[in-house]
């Protein structure tokens, strides 16, 4: 076969153009006109935050409505072993929650009543800085510190980095501890990933307040949730009017959970 360089180049050029044309028209290469959007009912905010009124919380001594609602909503398994337990919202003693603020002469009502704690959804989250896969990230749109369970490799750097102990590791398959009591509105997790409070991102997307806040409404309304950037929101007004504290402020994480003591 004797083909000139010129004819070879012609054929090669035509083949490339033809191939690209075919590929361009193929439905497998591109979908035109697709997009994504939020549900029309979604709640929106620049920075979500929460105020916990400890006085109201103290008035309902022993109340666990928020914890139960959260753990039920998110399929958090109840494991009795403290080394392997999983928790999103829980109670901590005052001196553990606020180690730099507690002193021996503090009012007994403060020291004797546990403080409700959860992920602080920090402005500067140390967990996000250390995550090697960006499985945990801060959502730029509303400041929620999220977990992408699909990306979590279970290295637990974030657990070490979080100064609030807000993260739990699944040492065991959580489904064994949910035993047929799985809430079908939310996925479970699997053995080997880290989890924590997600500020009910899945409920906000549907237009609902967080499960703990909703549960607390009927129990004295100690939990208030809203947009910290909106000066007219209830959280902003409470923070304007009352004296509030954050957990471990000296660390510079700037928590988005505020406590009114």
């Amino acid at each position: 076969m004797n083909r000139s360089k010129r004819s070879f180049l012609k054929i090669a050029g035509c083949s490339v153009v033809g191939g690209l044309g075919l590929a361009w028209n193929s439905p497998l290469v591109q979908l035109e006109g697709t997009s994504t959007e939020k549900l029309p009912t979604a709640l929106r905010a620049k920075t979500w935050g929460m105020v916990i009124d400890l006085k109201r919380c103290r008035e309902k001594k022993g109340c666990t409505a928020c914890i139960e609602a959260c753990h039920k909503a998110h399929n958090v398994p109840s494991i009795n072993n403290p080394e392997e337990e999983v928790k999103w919202v829980w109670k901590e003693s005052y001196e553990h929650a606020f180690p730099t603020q507690a002193h021996g002469k503090q009012s007994r009502s403060l020291l004797e009543h546990p403080v409700l704690v959860l992920c602080n959804h920090c402005e500067n989250p140390p967990c996000v800085r250390v995550c090697p896969t960006q499985a945990t990230f801060k959502r730029e749109s509303d400041g929620i510190v999220m977990m992408d369970q699909h990306r979590c490799i279970g290295c637990r750097y974030c657990i070490v980095a979080c100064p609030y102990g807000a993260r739990s590791f699944n040492w065991q398959d959580p489904r064994e501890f949910l035993a047929g009591d799985i809430n079908p509105s939310f996925p479970t997790r699997t053995k080997g990933v880290v989890e924590k409070c997600n500020f009910c991102a899945e409920r906000l997307a549907e237009g609902k307040m967080p499960a703990c806040v909703e549960a607390c409404e009927g129990e004295g309304g100690a939990l208030v949730f809203g947009d910290l950037e909106d000066p007219d929101s209830r959280v902003s007004r409470i923070l304007e009017e009352r004296y509030s504290i954050q957990r471990k402020p000296a660390l510079g994480t700037d928590p988005r959970i505020y406590y009114v003591v």
Binding site: T34, T36, E37, S185
Partner: protein, 158 residues
Amino acid sequence: MHNAKAVGLGILIFLLLGTFPFWWGWLQESSSEPPEIALPEGGTKCVESREYMRALHMDLLNDWRDTVVRKGERVYVSSSGERFRMSITGTCLECHKSNDEFCNRCHTYVGVSTTCFDCHVETFVPPGKDDRTLVVQETEGTTKGSEGLRPVEVQRSR
């Protein structure tokens, strides 16, 4: 020919090894017939064309996953302009009823293992489902931007 015996034996061994996939498969009574998957029930068409879904459903699902988890957006506007909730359990399984009879039959056949349902619950109910006001808003399109949103509530027959 030198060493005719050894060469012959070598050729025989080579042929035996070379045809291993054929006679091993025959001995195992495996079949090259494609698996029978459960056909979808309920819906009339998928979120995208059949050709696209067959070839690239995994890309679509990965995009959905990242968009929902990382961007917080839950509505997909398809290439034909229809709106769907981005949810493997809430939308896909609405028609393709069973992970075992639909997804896994093909995946097992081609040797792919998926882990979706290790966490996702097959009997998924979207959080808005028990909230009547939300359902009414979505179906009647009274809220801005909700025109044409096809909420799964409408079609559910369970």
